[in-house]
């Protein structure tokens, strides 16, 4: 069994973080430049961490597969970022944010981490404003707020519908400043393909120069993975088309445990799939549910246009089923409700797999201009893609894969089970339990990157003063040989299936069997199918071009190879978690009303998967969740 000591500081919940900081090792300012820290990824988590570490004086090496740090997937976040500033005096507090996040996550996250996240949230806003992030303001010049699903307060800060972009630009600019100062060395177009572990410690990475195909290595005393989520395993998702799981999966295979892989969030409001050609699904921000009303016709197979359907023939299913939260129920609840409505035959659109989100009443009440100023760019985006104007007719939406709560297991210092390897942002599993609340990922990424990791990393680094392992260590040569071997194998198969076609089939299987609704039979079937696809990949994949060239087909093939393994583990995790919780809806475990039924006696733990080699099955370890401050209750949004 693995040693899963989360190293939670003792003492009252409110004081844990402060007292932890008082007691951990520090690296002095004059010694910091002697340390090399590798950061992979420059989304909100990576860019904020790398710039903060560099500003402290560490020598930071930053790797990304993008051409520029500003292009990381975080740029696409729309709706906003949470912080319990309580500017509205509507009852917000650190405790309330902690409570909402735990309840939203269906009591499957570690209390101490979540509490710290809530404590740090207010500082994030201060930090970003100081960088020049233009958050929306009210007429008096004070910061404005909106509200997101699963909460009863207004605590979300935003920049129109492009909050992620503005936050990332703030972090990116700070990062570029450090590049200019020479404290950050940037390696763009460099994809990490393996982790190097020497005597049980992470000591560096192997990466492919995406222009020359050269396999190279970099050494450091710590490696930080800020590589985002693995939702693109489903092929169709709201993730960017290059998002992938390779960095965390390769680290997993080198010993970093992977927690709760099946906890994947399906976002309720996305533009529905239109066909097989589709390469990505576009999210329509959750903020729309502040004013949009979700409904389906009461009559199955309705053919009238929505405007012709009178009020009493419209089924506002969220408002009826959940009167307290209405359209603002958490995402897992809203998504499942949409699925049920469509499965039961009430869905609309050409495929019958869409529901309406209607602004008619909001426009009548608040005026078209107000709605435009709140959501103009989202309305335009929808119209560009679908050719229909949401000012004139309701949005047609359907759930899509969006976010991974699961990820690498980390302790209170954000260190994985490999000493010296850290995981931050969406890449780790820490704060969102079995379901994430809207606007909480940006908060977590920036909390990890600006405030937590830069203060905890010294604890592990201090004992390593002048203890360096260079890239001339044989472990590096071995890892390079492994990677080259894998690439040569993929290039040499020359079969007849394209990497894209295998990825699409994997995605369909995951979506159908490890998506919004799961059961044991289907999950087992999915595992069998993924095994077949894996066979097909390694016997019949076809990659053209050369490995020593810019080769996007090869890049995809390597990512798909890892997605197949991640996908399999997701299904196994879903199969063995024989309860329902949050996003994980096992049909066998539901209440009479069709809501999730948790089993706290048996499953109040994180499932922490351990890689034991190619020939041996994964082992499922557990980290028990201690309910010290919040007793788990049945989530009710009624």
């Amino acid at each position: 069994m693995m040693d899963l000591d989360a190293k939670i500081p003792s003492g009252p919940l409110e004081d844990k973080w402060d007292s932890h900081l008082e007691h951990i090792n520090l690296v002095g300012p004059r010694n910091r430049p002697t340390y090399d820290v590798i950061v992979v990824g420059t989304g909100l988590a990576g860019a904020s961490a790398a710039s903060s570490l560099a500003a402290q004086g560490y020598r930071v090496h930053v790797f990304i597969y993008h051409d520029s740090p500003r292009r990381a997937h975080s740029i696409a976040a729309q709706g906003g970022i949470n912080a319990c500033k309580n500017y509205r005096q509507d009852g917000d507090s650190v405790h309330r944010l902690f409570y909402d996040t735990q309840k939203g996550g269906d009591f499957r996250a570690r209390e101490a981490n979540v509490y710290r996240l809530a404590q740090t949230s207010t500082e994030i806003i201060d930090q970003c404003v100081a960088q020049g992030v233009p958050f929306a303001r009210e007429y008096g010049g004070m910061l404005a707020n909106r509200s997101f699903g699963g909460v009863l307060v207004e605590r979300t800060f935003y920049c129109r519908g492009q909050t992620g972009q503005q936050l990332l630009l703030g972090a990116y600019q700070s990062l570029q400043k450090e590049v200019d100062q020479g404290r950050v060395i940037l390696y763009p177009r460099s994809e990490m393909l393996d982790l190097v572990v020497v005597d049980g410690r992470a000591r560096g990475i192997i990466y492919r120069d995406m222009l020359t195909g050269e396999i190279q290595s970099s050494a450091g005393e710590a490696v930080v993975l800020a590589t985002g989520g693995y939702g693109a395993a489903y092929f169709n998702s709201t993730n960017a088309v290059n998002s992938n799981s390779t960095a965390i999966w390769r680290a997993h295979r080198r010993g970093a445990a992977f927690a709760n892989p099946s906890f994947v969030q399906i976002h309720p409001t996305c533009i529905p799939v239109s066909g097989d050609h589709q390469s990505k699904l576009t999210l329509m921000s959750e903020s729309l549910r502040n004013d949009g009303r979700v409904w389906v016709p009461r009559k199955k197979g309705e053919t009238r246009s929505p405007a012709d359907i009178p009020e009493k023939e419209r089924y506002y299913y969220l408002e009826e089923r959940y009167p307290t939260f209405g359209n603002l129920v958490p995402r897992d609840v809203a998504s499942r409700a949409a699925k049920v409505a469509c499965d039961d035959g009430y869905g609309v659109g050409s495929t019958g797999y869409s529901v309406y989100m209607d602004f008619r009443d909001a426009i009548n009440r608040q005026g078209g201009d107000t709605i435009k100023s709140k959501y103009g760019n989202l309305f335009d985006m929808y119209e560009e893609i679908t050719g229909e104007s949401p000012y004139q007719q309701p949005f047609k939406i359907y759930p899509a894969v969006h976010y991974c709560m699961g990820g690498l297991w980390v302790d209170y210092n954000l260190q994985t089970t490999i000493p010296g390897l850290y995981a931050i942002g969406e890449a780790n599993f820490s704060d969102h339990g079995a379901n994430r609340l809207g606007a909480s990922s940006l908060m977590q990424c920036l909390a990890d990157g600006y405030f937590i990791l830069p203060q905890t990393i010294g604890d592990g680094l201090q004992p390593l003063f002048r203890d360096k392992v260079g890239t001339d260590h044989p472990a590096f040569a071995q890892a390079i040989a492994d990677v080259n071997g894998r690439i040569n194998k993929v290039m040499s198969i020359q079969g007849s299936s394209t990497p894209l076609s295998i990825h699409k089939r994997l995605g369909k299987t995951l979506w159908n069997h490890c998506g919004m609704s799961r059961n044991a039979g289907n999950l087992q079937g999915a595992i069998d199918h993924i095994d077949q696809l894996t066979q097909e990949f390694w016997n019949n994949v076809h990659v053209t071009g050369s490995a020593k060239d810019m080769n996007q087909t090869l890049e995809r093939a390597m990512r798909v190879a890892d997605f197949l393994e991640v996908g399999r583990l997701m299904c196994r995790d879903a199969l063995e978690r024989d309860e329902s919780c949050g996003c994980h809806f096992r049909e066998e475990h539901q209440t009479e009303e069709g809501e999730v039924q948790r089993n706290d006696e048996k499953f109040a733990h994180a499932a922490v998967w351990e890689w034991r080699g190619e020939e041996t099955a994964h082992r499922r370890n557990t980290e028990k969740i201690h309910f010290e401050h919040l007793q788990p209750a049945t989530r009710s949004y009624k």
Binding site: A55, Q131, V241, T282
Partner: protein, 263 residues
Amino acid sequence: MNEPQKTLSVRLRIWRQPIGNSNGQFVEYGVNDIPVEASFLEMLDILNEQLVESGEDAVAFESDCREGICGTCSLVIDGLPHGEGQCTTCQLQMRNFKDGATITVEPFSTGAFKTIKDLVVDRSPLDRIIESGGYVTVHSGPKPEPNSIPIEEDVVEDALDASACIGCGACVAACPNGSASLFTSAKIGHLALLPQGQTERYGRVRKMVEAMDNEGFGSCRNYAECQASCPKNISIKYIGRMNKDYIHATIHGGDNRGPVKAT
């Protein structure tokens, strides 16, 4: 009644250039049975699937978010950066192309952007402009309470109009002179509007304008093609403001602190 058309076919003239080679050429490809709901990049995905299936090297082109925000996609389509209409390449939809059309696709290459392979260019000069001064110097640590410095709503909106720039480089590709003035002025304009950006305001403009020149971008001659091709509708008014601040900065020499200097 006619059934609405479900698919279309196009002929593509695509710029193909091997890596490490400064010469390239147009190659023609036909793509059939493109669903009308497909986006332009999904049409290129279909082409690349065909190429891989027939054993050829796929056309290298870049994209990531495919929703108009990351600035990765960068194609000149029928002579226009990001094609017709003020959106990014990834937001172009095939339903806006004619069945049977011939479409010419080239990279965003100009003086300062070099072609890497096929349709992929090197836009790192833009990062280096930001590196030279496009930031506010702050450490991650306790900060003043943000509401202690109220900012008028319209000022924030103006700043956001500028910082909406996605760094795609269409402005550079569209400019007959290959100037990066719109890109540079958008960042300068964003930070110059906000109280937080004042301390470094004039040092910033000087450093960024010089970096722009050093990267080999052309100078601005007011063609305004940049504004016309910007997918985020960024206005050339920011270029005017940048020039004004730059003149101020050069007159006041090394002063980084702006007009109100303690004497």
